[in-house]
């Protein structure tokens, strides 16, 4: 296999009139990695993806693929391929013709292009459906055809715009696995836009958390979860309690907030005079049984609702009920000081 190229975004900016959709972001996506652009809607992640694809013109900055600056190139000349959110399969063409479409545009003759399309459909296990129209396929099947269509040009980078959002939860997990294994097999770079932190955690080698047109943090998923760079990241990826640094009595000189993972917090029923540097007095607000874990929501005066994720056994050892006073406590080494 040829050496795959890295992708680099250099102070990439997109303006719509006065509004700044993407604010001078810089990012290096190593060759062959699975990168997830994660963020709430309107954070600029889709715009970034569309600029990489060439469907949106960059206002400023550059997009470098390998040694080439692709900022001004048309979509098909970039070595990228895009899979659209609604799959955008051509409703009047059967699956084979859909997959063969880009070959047809290049003037490949009918037999050759259909043969290659069937081969590509085989790869996504859709060869039995080659003669069907997109409307006759389920969501998951349509997605596979869309994947085959995007991959037939042998792109160096595959761009996926919320590829799993149209599927039901069960299928979503299944297709997620398939995407990951396909990426591993092909060895090309996937850039995947999503607003689901689960999806990003499960898939990505590199998670890029975006907010307000800027990158909050770009790191491997474990690092994002264990060392969130900012209060926004800690809140957005979930599973964290974000506290003002003063409450947690963190060391001076750090940022204004700290994060403590919800599964590192212990909860005890009752009140205690011992509430100190590593504990807080509160009232249980909700108790949700989630199977292997129990989620306890706790109101603490002056703070947002905190949460504790306890294993079933730990919860059973000291059960609490909504409305009861509880004592939250944690170990000092689990306090993560947030930069911003």
């Amino acid at each position: 296999m040829a050496k795959q190229p890295d992708i680099e975004l250099v102070s990439l900016t997109k303006r719509y009139g006065e509004t700044l959709a993407v604010d001078s972001i810089g990012l290096l996506i190593p060759a062959g990695s699975y990168c997830c652009l994660l963020g709430p809607s309107g954070c600029g992640k889709t715009t970034t993806l569309r600029m990489i694809a060439g469907h949106e013109e960059a206002s400023e900055g550059d997009i470098i693929l390998g040694a080439e600056n692709i900022t001004g190139l048309p979509p098909a000349a970039r070595g990228t391929a895009m899979m659209f959110q609604s799959y955008a399969l051509f409703p009047h063409l059967d699956c084979t013709d859909n997959v063969a479409f880009s070959l047809k545009m290049r003037g490949v003759d009918k037999d050759t292009r259909r043969a290659r399309a069937v081969e590509m459909l085989k790869r996504v296990h859709m060869d039995a459906y080659g003669g069907r129209l997109p409307a006759q396929l389920s969501g998951g099947q349509q997605q596979r055809v869309a994947l085959a269509r995007a991959l037939i040009t042998d792109p160096q980078v595959l761009l996926l715009d919320e590829p799993l959002s149209a599927l039901d939860p069960f299928l979503r997990v299944k297709m997620r696995e398939e995407l990951k294994s396909l990426q591993t097999r092909l060895g090309i770079c996937f850039i995947h836009v999503t607003h689901s932190q689960d999806e990003a955690m499960a898939l990505a080698d590199l998670v890029v958390v975006m907010n307000g047109g800027r990158i909050e943090q770009a790191a491997p998923p474990r690092e994002v979860f264990n060392r969130p760079a900012s209060a926004f990241v800690a809140r957005f990826i979930g599973g964290h309690n974000v506290l003002p640094a003063a409450v947690a009595r963190a060391g001076a000189g750090a940022g204004p907030f700290v994060a403590i993972r919800a599964d590192r917090v212990s909860v005890q029923a009752g009140t205690s005079a011992a509430a100190g540097a590593t504990s807080l007095q509160g009232v249980a607000r909700s108790v949700e049984y989630l199977g292997s874990t129990v989620q306890v929501g706790i109101d603490v005066i002056g703070l947002d609702t905190l949460s504790a994720t306890l294993s079933e056994a730990r919860f059973d050892a000291s059960p609490v009920r909504p409305g009861e006073p509880v004592l939250l406590s944690w170990n000092p080494e689990d306090v993560h000081v947030l930069g911003r």
């Binding site: 469907h55 979509p75 609604s86 955008a88 880009s102 545009m105």
Partner: protein, 284 residues
């Protein structure tokens, strides 16, 4: 759940069935019946004769007139399709703001604020021997003699048809175009299609139902028209409709009815052929 009694179902479809019966079946049946009647210069005589059809089908005038009418229909269809598709494409894909789209769309309907006849007549001072077109061309020194073919010719008939009926093509095609998911166009671009390739491979096939509906409008209207031909050709061209109008002015109703039956069959055949080519039910 109880099954609805069958008479209730009949009752429910009765009003529409009655409307169809009174306003569609009865008049057509009358025409068919009358087409077999006998007639003289003063009256219609109930009978069952094939004479009307014989006279019609054996006359070379009929065949020439049908040929002329079909020719008008074909030329008009081709021109309205070309212009209609272009206009619809421009409004649907080049005009970005929905407000502007609505404004332009309303602009297209302005000619419909006055009657067909007025719109036709308004061509006359423009196209006439000493009309605006001829005077302008002569003043510019492009021609020495006035162009005779501009008015009272097949040219002016087709011009009027195109002017009158292009909107019938624009509306259904525009409707088809607005239903095309814009991400399909991006997907085509992503696959390396040029603007032209996208038009031919994506937009055109997806507009087929709209084109079929527009074609049915235009072809059926032109096939049955007589006013436009009479006004714009100055009596020099004929059409099937005009032939029937002439027969009726001579009180030869059965002859006109026979002609109407033949025309109806021909138009039904054309429409059926179009429906075979394109499934328009998707659009309804």
């Amino acid at each position: 759940m109880n099954r609805v009694k069958s008479w209730v179902t009949y009752l429910q479809v009765a009003p529409l069935a009655l409307v169809f019966l009174l306003f569609l079946i009865v008049p057509i049946a009358t025409i068919v019946v009358v087409s077999f009647f006998d007639y003289n210069t003063t009256q219609i005589i109930p009978a069952f004769l094939l004479q009307n059809y014989e006279e019609l089908l054996l006359s070379p005038v009929t065949w020439r007139t049908y040929q002329q009418t079909i020719q008008f229909a074909l030329i008009t269809w081709a021109l309205t399709l070309l212009i209609g598709f272009t206009v619809a494409y421009f409004v649907a894909f080049h005009v970005r703001s929905p407000t502007m789209q609505t404004v332009l769309f309303l602009l297209c309907t302005i000619p419909f604020w006055t009657s067909n006849v007025i719109r036709m007549i308004s061509w006359i001072p423009f196209l006439g021997r000493h009309g605006l077109a001829n005077t302008t061309l002569m003043n510019l020194g492009l021609i020495k003699e006035p162009l005779e073919f501009l008015l009272y010719s097949d040219f002016s008939v087709v011009l009027a048809y195109v002017h009158l009926y292009t909107l019938f093509m624009v509306v259904p095609i525009f409707n088809s175009m607005m239903r095309i998911d814009r991400s399909l166009l991006e997907a085509a671009r992503d696959a390396g299609a040029s603007g032209w390739q996208t038009l031919v491979n994506v937009i055109l096939p997806l507009c087929k139902p709209g084109i079929a509906i527009g074609s049915i409008f235009v072809v059926t209207i032109v096939m049955g028209d007589f006013v436009t031909v009479r006004m714009m050709s100055g009596g020099l061209s004929a059409s099937v409709g005009l032939m029937m109008a002439n027969a009726m002015s001579l009180l030869q109703y059965p002859a006109a009815a026979a002609n109407a039956v033949i025309l109806l069959l021909l138009v039904l055949f054309i429409v059926a052929a179009m429906m075979r080519l394109v499934d328009i039910r998707k659009e309804l």
